[in-house]
């Protein structure tokens, strides 16, 4: 008989899959790099400085909180704080003072995440909460000045996305040259006001310009004003494709969100009913950033497939209500924050039908 020996005890399963939290977060960081590079290209090294400060502040805040609460500080290195830092920086204009991303990131981590128990326990997206805090506290710094992307010599780059030559054709267009595309769109909803400032027929002409191929192109490559991360649509889509391919972003979330934006953009995003421009509503503003990278925050979105679709539709409706009738030109971040709050409820009522289970409610 062979001599016996002893072994470690453990619960099944005894093997583990390839994914770890850190790998998931690393994938998100990788997916955000192209858009970060675009931010540096369009807004200069200042953009890089803001991103670095934001990430450093987020990780430092995470470390200090963990230390203070006597929890393993290794969590500060799992990548989730870095993701929050990048996303927060992506949500500020390049003109903000250097301390803005630091303050925002620290708030995001301390109040938005660690106060609720750290990774996995936060109710709302920390980066969006940090942004909401900054917008509420420093509205002028956060929204008043939209610096134009650099690289254009000969005056102000049209941050509206409408090309310079076209702008020249619209009388009184100076009023919109420094605004983001959504600002301009918002102005067109006040037809009388716009006509007073820019002459008769201005709203139609501006709308036409917003829906022109050259505007689409500027929106896609990022030749527009806006927050650091929401400039280049094409690079945001590229990063999102990577996340989907890596199984980090579940396609139902962005599809239902952007699909709802497109549909409602057509329904009430234009001058009258059913004549809006769906493509413009998807490319403009922060919905690509939000729809791919804020919605992909797993902690604060539903775990069920049906729940993810409901979340996306709900956020899409709120975004479009704010865009059309709200006080802000863009409603993306608030829509996701609001839907974050009902995520536990969505999970609860979208419990999948188990194999062999008969629905009680018929």
């Amino acid at each position: 008989m062979a001599e016996s020996r002893t072994f470690e005890l453990a619960m099944s399963p005894h093997v583990e899959g390839p994914k770890t939290t850190r790998k998931v977060m690393t994938d998100v960081v990788i997916a955000l790099l192209p858009a970060a590079a675009a931010a540096v290209y369009f807004f200069g090294l200042r953009a890089l400085l803001l991103v670095v400060l934001s990430v450093a502040a987020a990780m430092a805040a995470e470390y200090l909180c963990l230390k203070f609460m006597k929890r393993p500080v290794s969590f500060a290195l799992d990548g989730s704080a870095a993701v929050t830092g990048i996303l927060l920086a992506f949500n500020v204009p390049s003109s903000v003072p250097w301390w803005i991303p630091i303050l925002g990131s620290a708030f995001a981590i301390v109040v938005g995440k660690q106060a609720f128990g750290g990774i996995g326990h936060n109710i709302v997206n920390p980066a969006l909460l940090g942004r909401a805090f900054l917008v509420a506290s420093f509205p002028v710094l956060m929204t008043a000045g939209w610096p134009a992307p650099s690289g254009y010599s000969g005056g102000t780059w049209p941050t509206s996305g409408i090309s310079q030559e076209r702008l020249a054709e619209i009388p009184g267009a100076d009023a919109i040259s420094g605004a983001t595309p959504l600002n301009v769109m918002k102005q067109t909803f006040d037809e009388e006001g716009m006509e007073t400032r820019m002459g008769e027929g201005a709203p139609e002409r501006v709308r036409e310009e917003l829906s022109s191929p050259s505007t689409y192109w500027n929106l896609l490559v990022g030749k527009i004003g806006g927050c650091l991360g929401e400039t280049s649509g094409i690079l945001l889509i590229l990063g999102a494709a990577y996340l989907v391919a890596r199984g980090v972003l579940e396609i139902r979330l962005p599809l239902s969100y952007l699909g709802t934006i497109a549909l409602l953009g057509w329904v009430w995003g234009g001058a009258g009913w059913f004549d809006g421009d769906p493509l413009f509503h998807i490319l403009a503003g922060g919905v690509l950033l939000g729809g791919f990278y804020m919605i992909s925050d797993m902690v604060t979105t539903p775990v069920t497939k049906k729940g993810r679709i409901i979340f996306g539709i709900g956020a899409g409706v709120i975004t479009m209500v704010i865009r059309r009738w709200g006080g802000y030109p863009e409603g993306c971040s608030y829509s996701i924050l609001l839907m974050n709050l009902v995520t536990p409820l969505i999970d609860r009522y979208t419990k999948p039908r188990a194999l062999g289970e008969v629905r009680q409610d018929g």
């Binding site: 062979a2 072994f7 470690e8 005890l9 099944s12 005894h14 583990e16 996995g120 999948p352 188990a354």
Partner: protein
């Protein structure tokens, strides 16, 4: 007849995951018969249900095939001695599937014989009831791992019509190759066993389900005339309810049994045991065991007598590699970690798996990041992370509402969890608490 030919029509279930198969460690190793050890420890609790009542005492001499423990209730089976020899002791001892259990320790004198029933060359000359009675008396239980008494599965309560028999040759647990080798080397017996089971159930056209990662087995079984259902390689394809769903599209009701949807599933190893019982007149005393893992020097497939200690199997397989850390009864997904290798092979031991430190899962657990991977992958379509959270907060009622009792502990969720959470553990705890609370209420 290659697997490619089947690609267009391979069946499967929804959910699941793809752990590395690691079957090539042992899949080419032919079954080798190991001699019985000097001391055989025959557990009286190998089957699911009540342990058999010991019929022998210290000093008794027994012959191979002799009943040493008698059936003790409906869900129970008799136990037979795999060797001729002398009873050393009847005692409780560590078991591979539970902390400890009653066993009969026998000093081996011979491993000849074992034919204790009349061999039936033509099984159709006997009634289905006689066949089922024989299967019961021979102590046949499910050889796939759960060890449910086979005769119970063959005796549906009145009113339950069985129309489908699926022989389970899926072997979806990584590493294990015992069923694969059995189909390749003893395909005729496997098919004969399937016919006996079909006859006992009154079912026409039984089928055998095999994953397409075993093209040689599919080809071989088809060449012998069996109807093979090729199945997609996905864990847990061989779980009973998932196999039934894949083949018939029928969902076994929650809390119900396969016979509620007219189906019986039997493992290929069980079919072999049925042949031994019916044709050869021999009780279930031996089985094929895969001894494998990177913690083993020379992975092998052995035919061993029940009651042989794991340590003997490992020694026959070249011993442990230096970096072995974990020893498992069964496969890596649902198998049970062993504290010692001084535990006996039981009828349900499909594998003895020794994992190296590089293979074995680490125990570090971080908080759930709600990625929902477990929800997408759960083959029972539960939300494991939510049930686990309820269990952590000891909200047992909530856990039950979330379907905790439907979990079969297949381990898919824990396997894919990026936070390395022991979801199965939390859910099993919830199951225990829910059942305990129900008992209290009743």
């Amino acid at each position: 007849m290659s697997a490619r030919r089947h690609m267009g029509k391979v069946k499967t279930f929804s959910g699941g995951t793809h752990p590395p198969g690691s079957k090539d460690l042992s899949s080419s190793r032919a079954i080798e018969r190991l001699p019985a050890p000097e001391l055989v420890r025959v557990p009286l609790c190998q089957h699911l249900g009540a342990p058999s009542k010991p019929l022998v005492k210290k000093g008794d001499s027994v012959t191979r095939g002799q009943e040493v423990g008698e059936q003790n209730g409906f869900i129970s089976l008799p136990t037979h001695s795999p060797v001729s020899g002398t009873v050393v002791k009847v005692e409780d001892a560590p078991m591979p599937h539970r902390r400890s259990g009653p066993s009969v320790l026998i000093r081996t004198e011979s491993e000849e014989g074992g034919r204790v029933f009349e061999p039936w060359d033509e099984f159709r000359a006997h009634s289905p009831e006689e066949i089922i009675e024989r299967i019961k008396n021979a102590g046949v239980c499910g050889m796939g791992g759960a060890s449910f008494p086979t005769y119970v599965k063959l005796s549906p309560p009145p009113g339950k019509e069985i129309d489908t028999l699926i022989l389970n040759g899926v072997e979806c647990e990584p590493y294990l190759t015992a069923d694969h080798r059995l189909m390749l080397e003893q395909g005729e017996d496997v098919i004969l066993g399937m016919e006996m089971l079909a006859y006992a159930l009154g079912v026409e056209n039984p089928v055998i389900g095999i994953e397409v990662n075993k093209p040689d087995a599919i080809e071989h079984m088809e060449s012998l005339g069996a109807t093979v259902v090729p199945l997609k390689v996905k864990y847990p394809q061989g779980a009973e309810k998932q196999l039934i769903d894949a083949h018939t599209g029928r969902e076994v009701p929650a809390g119900g049994l396969p016979l509620d949807v007219g189906v019986v599933v039997q493992n290929v190893g069980t079919a072999k045991a049925v042949v031994q019982a019916v044709r050869d007149g021999m009780p279930t005393m031996e089985r094929v065991v895969t001894v494998t893992g990177r913690g083993i020097n020379n992975p092998s497939n052995f035919l061993v007598q029940v009651g042989t200690p794991f340590s003997d199997l490992v020694e026959a397989a070249g011993g442990y590699a230096d970096d072995v850390v974990r020893l498992i009864n069964g496969g890596p997904m649902m198998g049970i970690a062993q504290y010692t290798d001084d535990v006996p092979v039981i009828k349900g031991t499909s594998g003895v798996l020794a994992l190296s430190s590089a293979e074995a899962r680490e125990s570090a657990e971080t908080p759930c990041i709600r990625c929902g991977k477990c929800v997408d992958a759960c083959p029972m379509r539960l939300a494991p992370s939510l049930i686990a959270r309820s269990a952590e907060y000891e909200q047992w009622e909530q856990a039950e509402k979330q379907g905790a009792l439907n979990c079969m502990a297949c381990g898919t969720c824990s396997y894919i969890c990026p936070s390395g959470r022991y979801l199965v553990h939390y859910i099993k705890r919830a199951q225990e608490m829910i059942r305990a609370l129900k008992k209290k209420e009743a």
